[in-house]
């Protein structure tokens, strides 16, 4: 508890040093998602404890930590999927400076801005085309002539176009696991999100499929903020610029990925990234 308090004060000091003007600039331009004293409970189970985190736009942020540390819950709180799980939330999650937990927030509009890719590939049991077109159709962002273009672009972004262009009407479950996951990424990209949340997207995939998705993540960050939860520390080191280490619901350390892996400040972070526990 003391260490958390210390850390909190330290970060405040650092912010003061940067100066108010610079800070304001940083918020408006670079910070996409910010959590302020975020606490979350599932009935009496305190899952997220006072999380303060600023996530940069157009960067890849990895969230690592042992199982059950709350990392999945954290990203599910960014698009309010935790609402479905019956969570109680205190504190703020700011998207572009606006608290998404404000009363009257349009959750549908929020989820249009924040795409999500799940741990297990979960394409709908429809054609490849219909999977990608699902979001645009729901939001009526494009008419039918445009839809073909949106589907093609999304599949290209997800590096899947070449493999499926001649069988867009085939059922999505005819694809391999890795292709299915890229299809899910294409489906999420089809509504032009600002942020892509990825919940252990490679945990069910083989190394080759994993490499493809990692390349893809690297490219995506040119345009949007990517937040990836991962069990795999090598993966975090490979794909991310920033890494957050969580343990038992607390954010232990958050810094540039290089620092987390090479010169972590906290003992627990060091123990985790060097494999002493996990």
């Amino acid at each position: 508890m003391v260490t958390v308090l210390n850390k909190f004060m330290m970060s405040n000091n650092r912010e003061n040093k940067i100066g108010k003007e610079k800070e304001k600039k940083r918020t408006s331009r670079d910070v996409k998602i910010e959590t302020k004293n975020l606490n979350l409970w599932f009935s009496k189970n305190h899952v997220l404890k006072n999380i303060n985190l600023k996530i940069s736009d157009k960067k890849v942020t990895a969230i690592i930590g042992p199982s059950g540390c709350g990392k999945t819950t954290l990203i599910r709180s960014f698009n309010r999927m935790v609402d479905l799980d019956g969570a109680r939330v205190e504190g703020e999650v700011l998207l572009d400076g606006e608290n998404i937990y404000n009363y009257g927030t349009n959750v549908v509009a929020l989820r249009e801005k924040i795409g999500m890719v799940f741990q297990k590939p979960n394409p709908f049991p429809m054609s490849i085309y219909d999977n990608v077109a699902y979001g645009p159709r729901i939001h009526r962002v494009s008419d039918d002539t445009n839809l073909d273009k949106v589907v093609e672009e999304s599949l290209r972004h997800a590096a899947l176009w070449g493999e499926v262009e001649d069988r867009l009407n085939a059922n999505a479950y005819e694809l391999s696991g890795g292709q299915q996951q890229r299809l899910c990424i294409a489906r999420a990209l089809a509504i032009n999100p600002d942020v892509l949340l990825m919940d252990e997207p490679c945990s069910a995939l083989d190394p080759i499929a994993t490499a493809k998705i990692e390349d893809l993540i690297w490219e995506l960050k040119e345009k949007i903020a990517v937040i990836i939860v991962t069990h795999n520390m090598q993966q975090a080191a490979r794909v991310s610029q920033f890494t957050a280490f969580m343990y038992l619901g607390e954010l232990i350390e958050y810094d540039k990925t290089k620092k987390i892996f090479e010169t972590p400040k906290e003992e627990r972070t060091k123990d985790y990234v060097t494999g002493k526990f996990g």
Binding site: F124, P125, M126, G135, Y173, R187, A188
Partner: protein, 314 residues
């Protein structure tokens, strides 16, 4: 040199006592089914003809000495109504009863199953509703029948009619349709719903664009099983909907009674002192009824296996 062969130890599979004990009832079930089917086909098949299936019935009066199982019957002359001709009006009546009942039960059943599974949270109210549905399924059909006569025919003044039959059979099919729709909805992975919601779809859009289309094979299986259940129903329509014979043959509006296969069979088999004299005709009717019910079961099984093949990935 001789080729050396690695000999695998042969494992002698012994049929144990346990396997015998557990297998006998299974074989008995098979035997029971084929015995029933065999008897009905044996007696009924000779009657089946184009005329039987598409003709309308007529009746002859038969006077004569009682015989057969009724030989103790003392009246010297007795009257037997012997049907001949075809059973098309009864086939039509059964199908009319079933389709109307399904028309009532499907919207009610599917909508309430969606409500139970997608909206209503676990709790006292939900378990209460589930109990009620379970009890509805357990109500004996003769009780449904007397209820239908009292409530629909008399209280609501529908009369002995097709309409009363639709409601009572619809009520009987409801629990089956609700339960099987719920099962179909439960079988849909949570990931489908989450993926849809995460794309910014509303709950309504998620249910109409993903949940229901994916559940359709399961729901249709349930509907067809419901059809099979009520197509063979006699007691429920005994008082409220069916009639042995009416001159118009087919009901001209929903307030008229219908001739149905089951009721026809029941009347044939029980209401005559000459029971047995027109056994072929009875068995022909039974065979047609059985054929209709089995046909629906086969369709249900077909849809189920086809959709199971399709869902290999999830």
């Amino acid at each position: 040199m001789m080729e050396s062969k690695t000999e695998l130890p042969t494992v002698r599979k012994r049929v144990g006592l346990g396997e015998i004990i557990f297998s006998i009832p299974t074989l008995l079930i098979l035997a029971a089914f084929f015995l029933i089917l065999g008897v009905i086909v044996y007696y009924g098949a000779p009657v089946i003809s184009w005329n039987f299936l598409t003709g309308t019935p007529g009746f002859t009066m038969l006077y004569g000495e009682p015989f057969g199982p009724n030989f103790l019957y003392s009246e010297p002359f007795n009257l037997q109504i012997l049907p001949y001709g075809g059973i098309l009006p009864m086939i039509f009546g059964t199908l009319a009863l079933v389709s109307g009942a399904i028309g009532i039960a499907v919207p009610l059943g599917v909508l309430s199953a969606v409500y139970l599974n997608e909206y209503l949270k676990e709790g006292l109210f939900k378990s209460f509703i589930n109990q009620v549905i379970g009890n509805l399924a357990g109500v004996p059909s003769i009780v449904f029948g007397i209820f239908a006569f009292t409530f629909f025919s008399k209280q609501l003044d529908f009369g002995v009619s097709l309409l009363s039959g639709w409601f009572v059979l619809g009520f009987m099919a409801l629990p089956i349709i609700i339960k099987s729709t719920e099962e179909a909805l439960k079988a849909i992975p949570r990931g489908f719903r989450e993926a849809s919601l995460a794309l910014g779809a509303t709950k309504w859009e998620t249910i109409t664009s993903v949940v229901l289309p994916v559940a359709t094979p399961g729901i249709s299986t349930g509907i067809i099983l419901g059809i099979g259940r009520i197509a063979g129903e006699t007691a429920a329509i005994l008082f409220a909907a069916s009639i042995f014979y009416q001159s118009s043959l087919y009901p001209t509006n929903v307030f008229q009674p219908v001739m149905a296969l089951t009721y026809h069979l029941y009347y044939e088999a029980t209401s005559s002192p000459f029971a047995g004299i027109n056994r072929p005709y009875e068995f022909g009717t039974a065979l047609v009824l059985l054929g209709i019910v089995l046909l629906f079961s086969i369709i249900a099984i077909y849809i189920r296996t086809k959709s199971q093949k399709k869902r290999k990935g999830w």
